[in-house]
Amino acid sequence: MNPIEITASAIVTCLGQGKAPTLAALRSGVSGLAPCGFETVQLPTYVGEVAGAGDDLLPPGFDKFDCRNNRVAELALQADGFLDRVAAARARYGAARIGIFVGTSTSGILETEIAYRHRQDDGSLPKGFIYDERHSTFSLGAYLQQRLGLEGPSVVLSAACATTAKAFAAAHRMIEAGLCDAALVGGADSLCLTTLYGFNALCLTSRNPCKPFDATRDGISLGEGAGFVLLEKPSSNDPMLLLGMGESSDAYHMSSPHPDGLGAKLAMQRALDSAGLAPSDIAYLNLHGTATPVGDRAEDKAVLSLFGDQIACSSTKGQTGHTLGAAGIVEAILTMLSLREGVMPGTANLGTLDPDLGATYLRAPQARRFTRAMSNSFGFGGNNCSLIFGAG
């Protein structure tokens, strides 16, 4: 594929708002997970909650979009001078030439969950309840169109936990097809009862802060977050580039990965092929690494069969929690920060490495310069996506 430049980015997770606190956390390895006290949830689990996401923070005139998901998105937009970068791109290309390719899995379902507890006697939702701009899967896209004044092709992708990695692929194709000159890529996912009780029903949530690759790992910790990047054709002297991307389907099971990581390996192989790179060209791999017993084992097999044990791997989900639909963009931005700043993230909460795993896992962050990295995102339905970034 033709490489494309990431010219701006912004992020918010439980580690903080913006790249400065995020980078500090990558360097220190601190975890943002805390015992779950979210809303009325009574589950023995840990979550990575975004500070301030409950506040009234959307700009005036955007009340109808007011839901936790769009507020988490707004916190990212306000970080890192991103709004100014979008405005400059809009002035340069024109509103209709900048596309929106963002993702979410939760959208604003939290507000509907609460509304269902307050149904009227005839079963109808409370007066003033808004569906289209808050809960509809496209609400994040509509919010961004109006908030940023963008009029290019706009979709909300929703492929569970691979969503916002796949957003890069959709944007790249649309730019290649000449339908836009630049693209807003990313998305948001927010804590809600559906995902907390849903993963609990699948016995996939841990009672402890999640421990990827640990011998005693027992499930995920949910997080929330948002991230956005601007994609443009390369023009900088020292660009951060998306070099490759690979998508695949497991064809195995709706909520369990293929036990040998078949789909995961295919996604990584296709990303290498699209970049024209060999496995040995990649120095660091940000794994999906959710800390489920089955998922980590499957990914380990896939990594070993493609890279052997010669690549440094870690999962940042012990720090951020699993941000589900936002995991793709959050971990893409973490991977780009790692590349730019010369720090390979560690794997928070990893105590005793599972002796059955064979890849090379980083426990603590390492100061190391490197030029190419891969980020993995795998989702329900067996939808997988791997991205390769390069700088320097």
Binding site: A96, S105, I109, E113, Y116, R117, R119, G123, S124, L125, F129, I130, Y131, D132, S136, T137, F138, G141, A142, Q145, E151, P153, S154, V155, V156, L157, S158, A159, A160, K166, A169, A170, R173, E176, A177, L179, L193, T194, Y197, G198, F199, A201, L202, E247, S248, S249, D250, A251, Y252, H253, M254, S255, L262, L266, R270, G379, F380, G381, G382, N383
Partner: protein, 260 residues
Amino acid sequence: MRVSIDAIGLCGPGLDGWTNSAAILAGRAAYEATPPRIVAPDLLPSAERRRAVPSVRLALQVGQEALQASKADVATLPTVFTSSGGDGSTMHAILDTLAQPAREMSPTQFHNSVHNAPAGYWSIATGSHAPTTSLAAHDASFGAGLLEAASQMLASNAPVLLVAYDGAYPGPLNRVRPIEGSFGVALLLAPSGGIASLSIERVHGVPNGPALDDAFLERLRTHNPAARSLSLLTAIARGVAAEVQLQETANHMLRIAVAP
């Protein structure tokens, strides 16, 4: 953007497969608004067939019809699934459960609630490891999905399967999101040949094309996002050159020159 329509799958009220429906849409056969005939796709293994909700069956049924009418190799065929909001019945069941004190959620309902459920079931049903995209654009979901599928086909110069589906939500959601009927359509896009060729242009504006001749079908078209495709399908069925407009975002549309 130029794409060809190699094959079509269709299921909606009184629209049972493309061959029958084309005669109705072309005005050669009478339309009768019978309930959609959604069958359990025989592609699915029995466990998945039991778990698949009606919207997933609908999506797979139209996808299978288009696939069988074409020579495309499903193993390498990328898919694009577009829907305004996925499965409303599953969403309602989860929301209702979460409003009860016990909050005992069904694991199957949870995995069926993801927007890409049809993509997951499709890959299990066909054994295909090909890339897949699941997206939403509210009322513009069909136009946005067509643009995405067309851009994929141009990027690879190989066939792409687009599946659009939307169904009515149960109460109380149907009051806040009044989608009517169940409607699914699959278009197998290919570089050349086939039933019709489309020249697609993205332009500023909102569609102002003529209403469909049949009042019931026109209401379906305007009240079910996937059924927005009926204007395009009608033009293809008539087999004469025509221009069709489809909403793509709030203020942009696809202007499509349809040629037989």
